[in-house]
Symmetry: C3
Subunit: 264 residues, 3 copies
Amino acid sequence: MIRLAIAAALLAASATPALAQDAPQSTDAKLDALDARITRLEDLNAIERLQKVYGYFVDKSQWTQLSELFTEDATLEIGGKGLFLGRAQVLNYMHSAFGPDGAKENVLANHMQFQPIADISTDGRHGWVRSRAFVMSNGGWGLPLYENAYEKGDDGIWRISRLSGPFTMYTSWEGWGKNALNNTWPDKFEPPPDLPPSTVYLTYPAYYIIPFHYPNPVTGHVFAPDTGQVGAYFRPPGTPEQAQSLQVGRLADGTQPIAEPPKD
Amino acid sequence: MIRLAIAAALLAASATPALAQDAPQSTDAKLDALDARITRLEDLNAIERLQKVYGYFVDKSQWTQLSELFTEDATLEIGGKGLFLGRAQVLNYMHSAFGPDGAKENVLANHMQFQPIADISTDGRHGWVRSRAFVMSNGGWGLPLYENAYEKGDDGIWRISRLSGPFTMYTSWEGWGKNALNNTWPDKFEPPPDLPPSTVYLTYPAYYIIPFHYPNPVTGHVFAPDTGQVGAYFRPPGTPEQAQSLQVGRLADGTQPIAEPPKD
Amino acid sequence: MIRLAIAAALLAASATPALAQDAPQSTDAKLDALDARITRLEDLNAIERLQKVYGYFVDKSQWTQLSELFTEDATLEIGGKGLFLGRAQVLNYMHSAFGPDGAKENVLANHMQFQPIADISTDGRHGWVRSRAFVMSNGGWGLPLYENAYEKGDDGIWRISRLSGPFTMYTSWEGWGKNALNNTWPDKFEPPPDLPPSTVYLTYPAYYIIPFHYPNPVTGHVFAPDTGQVGAYFRPPGTPEQAQSLQVGRLADGTQPIAEPPKD
């Protein structure tokens, strides 16, 4: 429902300029209209930039600096681990799961950011980006797809208010034909999340269509993909079904070495 | 010839703002000049965005929504299959070659879009983008390079008027050192094209330089690469030469498994 | 010190618009302010575009056209080979190391450009971009990370004034779990550099954090990574320590086949 509301707001926002141009305007009104359009372009740049800055920090495990990019009440949801609430928890998650600040020998964690589709709300205070990361890490290849939200503070600075990055695929560096791995789940590693995952889903060879924050740019139609529960992780805890579901995508030796160096 | 005309028009377009700034201007003329520059920035954003939207639709086989991004009389030319004419044929091609709308189990078709070089015509109605896709699919790695065209309709909406994506390389997920495959050709799979390929070319380990829609941004010189016939597919149909040319790049078992899952 | 000065200048530049909006302004002053903001957006586009244009030229060995993108007194530093001084040396380096202009059979040299973080100086004459290339070449995978500088000439055209691209990782196409290679060093191949490397560093499985030209966009804090000597190449020439350091990352047969086709 939230996404439908965003899409409707974006439609209204994109319709406004055309209507405004029909009316005769004073010089001041024209200046204000140009100012608003420039501000929108600057804001689009700012949130795209923020996402790229985030990526360069992940590369080198700069967790404290990374956490400073978030709003005080931001949410973080990466992979299938569940929701972490607030900037302090963002930092706690990174430190607990990936170690202290700073790059390390034998670690590769490149999170290369691209293909951003950015939007700004009509009031200029909220932003959204659909984008990708292409991960080359110790564990192998990873393909997160982000649908993130951003907020412009009273200080005029944009911050990440929601980072949401389900994975499309996770494989060892040997290629997705040999090893296609499950993504993380809530009890995979420390720390535990504040809330369970907002969506349970599977990665390749299964699939999940992450909802789009924007309508089709030509038709204006909102695209509503799968709304039900998706994937093998949605099983009652402690049941044989859940145990079985966790086998999917494991390596031949039964391990699922996410964030571990490849074995040869 | 068309590309040279585009490049000359782009040179003229980029020279205009500098000249205009030399003359004293009324407030209204200044406002109009700023408006035009903002509109150009917005249009550049719009066509880059359209290309990214296209990529996210390919990922999940959203063929109907994808076809709606095209103009009524658009042309489509992917790989070496030839030209498909019109929006309806774009949809027919996708449905016939890749199946019905919707993501599927065991299918990976990520077409990740980046490195766009966008230009807008002086009249603001035509756009061009040179860009790339980095493909991770069932078949393996693919590197299309696009030189696409876009049109702004009377409704103010940009659409794709020409999608043209020759491949630079096509290999299995095992790497281009082991398998470098030919791209598609007209009779490789259904449906047949409306027109034969505009250019015949080969992929790695051969090469083809896709003509540039823009001049060198520093010298203004137009870059004119290979103009002749390029590659092994340019052979008289039905001849031994043509039959031999289709062997290039095949796997050891004689197959050329584009769009097939890797065998192990 | 230079980078700290740049970061301080960028902070001052980003603070200016907010202050300026507090004062009442004449129509002409408002027009000038809007003009300056549009010019900045255009300049950001221009230097990002220049970097993408560079990438497409590398792909196809268009060395003469590539060298024309540089200022007369530009510097070039790729990998660990040292500094090349001036546009003529940029061209000499490319021709000596990689052969004459033009794509070649059996050569793949794709340098795909993305994740640009661009900034423009307050006087509008200097620009900086942090960005990446994702290399798929004969030799395998490569991950350069650029911190480049650009200058706007009196003719209004942007050119590359410093190209600096240390590698993060270099492996064969078989994957970084099997082969992680050292990068180039000054005496690896012809021609010799005009000056030794500005920084000595190692690639994966070691690491090096390339200094950031911009402060943290939220806190404004300048990030100062490793300032000391980094990596195994920093050894006194002719010593056993230097000889040993060059073993790091070699293949099992003792070779380090950068820019050579993979052996199978």
